[in-house]
């Protein structure tokens, strides 16, 4: 991307056997004290390849791996790294402890042999400061939430590269399994207010501008919430809602229909509970 900073692109689709679960973007930065990764990919095998690549590109072993959030396509590759190098906010560490291992069955079921030997490591380094400096390179660390209950964004101050985790998607529809939409919007406001130059989204191509991917993510979330709320009010069931037209402006977003149907599953029951009156007379 820029001054000794790289992005390792994931496939812009869903986790599947033919991509080995390598769907999330990973960022890599060289420092005097070793390589810094943001996120670790889906498996031990992927994490090992990442460690090798980091050494080839930077000439140094991996000194730190920041985890952005709990989803296994971002975290399970941490199996390749020593717990002391794995960094997460205390909130994320608690979530990983509670829910992290629960993704294992699903990952093995979809990915089979790709997952062999993968065992999620718990982070040994707590992210509590707003800024950490490694080997002369400073990273601003923003503890946010909205895509999940704890999302970390990492800003490399040397290059102005914002690694946004899954708070930002780009030309790939956002996913909502643990989303809190108002919090997500607030997080996007915070990110937009940073003085960064480019954005590494959690999924999709690098955004060379500060705002395009952030705005696109917000546009999708606003549309999604409005469209699903209207669908619930209009009496559409979940099947209907999953088949609703997707506006043309989202035509460049990969897997949009797929993620719309997943989001219907995630968000519809709460909207029904909010929008429909009690009718039991109790």
């Amino acid at each position: 991307m820029a001054d000794r900073a790289w992005v390792i692109r994931g496939a812009d689709t869903y986790i599947a056997r033919d991509n080995g679960g390598a769907v999330a973007n990973i960022a890599l930065f060289a420092t005097e004290a070793g390589a810094v990764l943001v996120d670790a990919g889906p498996s031990l095998r992927y994490g090992q390849a990442l460690a090798k690549l980091a050494r080839e590109l930077t000439g140094e072993p991996v000194a730190r791996v920041y985890l952005t959030h709990l989803h296994p396509d971002h975290t399970y590759g941490d199996a390749a790294f020593a717990p002391g190098t794995i960094a997460a906010t205390p909130a994320l560490a608690a979530e990983l402890k509670r829910e992290g291992p629960g993704f294992s069955d699903g990952m093995y079921r979809i990915l089979g042999d790709w997952m062999r030997g993968t065992e999620l490591h718990m982070p040994g380094h707590a992210v509590t400061a707003e800024r950490e400096t490694l080997g002369g390179r400073s990273f601003r660390l923003l503890a946010l939430s909205g895509h999940s209950a704890s999302d970390l964004a990492v800003l490399d101050e040397r290059t102005g590269t914002l690694v946004a985790g899954d708070l930002v998607f780009h030309d790939r529809a956002p996913t909502t399994p643990h989303a809190d939409l108002p919090k997500w919007r607030a997080a996007l406001d915070t990110l937009k207010g940073l003085s960064h130059r480019r954005v590494v989204p959690g999924h999709g191509p690098l955004d060379p501008t500060p705002a395009a991917a952030i705005d696109q993510t917000r546009d999708w979330l606003d549309w999604l919430e409005g469209a699903l709320t209207a669908a619930v009010r209009d009496g559409l069931d979940m099947v209907d809602a999953g088949l609703m037209p997707i506006p043309d402006r989202f035509a460049r977003l990969k897997v949009a229909r797929y993620e719309l149907q997943r989001s219907v599953a995630h968000l519809y029951p709460a909207l029904e509970a909010r929008e429909w009156p009690r009718v039991d007379g109790r």
């Binding site: 559409l236 979940m238 809602a241 599953a265 029904e272 009156p277 109790r282």
Partner: protein
């Protein structure tokens, strides 16, 4: 639960001898067995794409999988069933129509990759069938309900939300019940589910009767399309397998139902 499915699969070949059923376009290993069991020995059945069975491309949540059966293009429908061949509980919904369109939509549990079917019985007793396969991870029936894990199911039991929409394209009722819908397949929790639900119009006209089994998702949601008159309210009354009763009225005025 896997054990039960395997036992059913073993039983299938002998049942197959009984049924002169047409070949299953879905090639389900259970077709002859489920047809014999749920349609009746020697029932007349044919596969008909006018029975529109619609569901999402992926089972994002195998405990809450939306299925819609729309047979409004067919005259003289008396009954609509949703059938899930490879579930330990195979018949989540058995809907006998009163004054209503042939439409039912709900959410079901899936226990593994399985055919999901809509079966429509005409007034002459013959059956029409359609459906498709859906892939699902294991455990939709054998995982405990969320409300059992949270422990708050009893506090909300009996709560019903819903609305009635009516307009030129017909009426739609949606009802959302709080109920654990226990399958009996989770350790130490006996089978316990909403059993029976009747919808009537204000003048007493029967709109429909739905038999549910525990393969309907926890906190069941049901959409039906009764033929109501302008301004007419719909009453519902049901009970669960412990005799707990649910009843209420949906007033007209939810607006017209949108078509997708």
């Amino acid at each position: 639960m896997k054990r039960i499915a395997a036992a059913l699969a073993l039983a299938a070949p002998s049942a197959a001898v009984a049924g002169p059923f047409p070949a299953d376009p879905l090639n389900s290993p259970m077709w002859e067995f489920v047809a014999d069991k749920y349609l009746g020995e020697g029932a007349a059945v044919r596969f008909d794409p006018r029975v529109k069975v619609t569901f999402p491309e992926v089972a994002e949540n195998q405990r809450v999988f939306p299925v819609q059966v729309d047979a409004r293009g067919i005259a003289d429908v008396a009954r609509v069933m949703i059938l899930i061949d490879l579930n330990p509980i195979q018949l989540p919904i058995d809907y006998r129509l009163g004054d209503a369109e042939a439409f039912v939509s709900t959410r079901v549990k899936l226990d593994q990759r399985t055919p999901v079917r809509g079966l429509v019985q005409l007034k002459d007793g013959t059956w029409l069938a359609s459906g498709g396969w859906i892939d699902a991870a294991g455990g939709g029936c054998s995982a405990p309900p969320v409300s059992r894990v949270k422990g708050d199911w009893a506090q909300h039991l009996g709560e019903v939300r819903g609305r009635l929409w009516s307009g030129a394209s017909g009426a739609r009722v949606q009802l959302a019940f709080r109920h654990p819908m226990d399958t009996g397949l989770v350790d130490n929790i006996a089978i316990y589910h909403i059993d029976d639900l009747r919808l009537t119009a204000a003048d007493g006209r029967m709109l429909g009767e739905v038999k549910m089994q525990a393969a309907v998702a926890e906190d069941p949601v049901l959409a039906l399309m009764p033929r109501t008159r302008p301004g007419e309210a719909v009453r519902f009354a049901g009970r669960d397998t412990n005799g707990v009763e649910f009843a209420g009225t949906l007033e007209a005025g939810g607006g017209a139902v949108a078509s997708r």
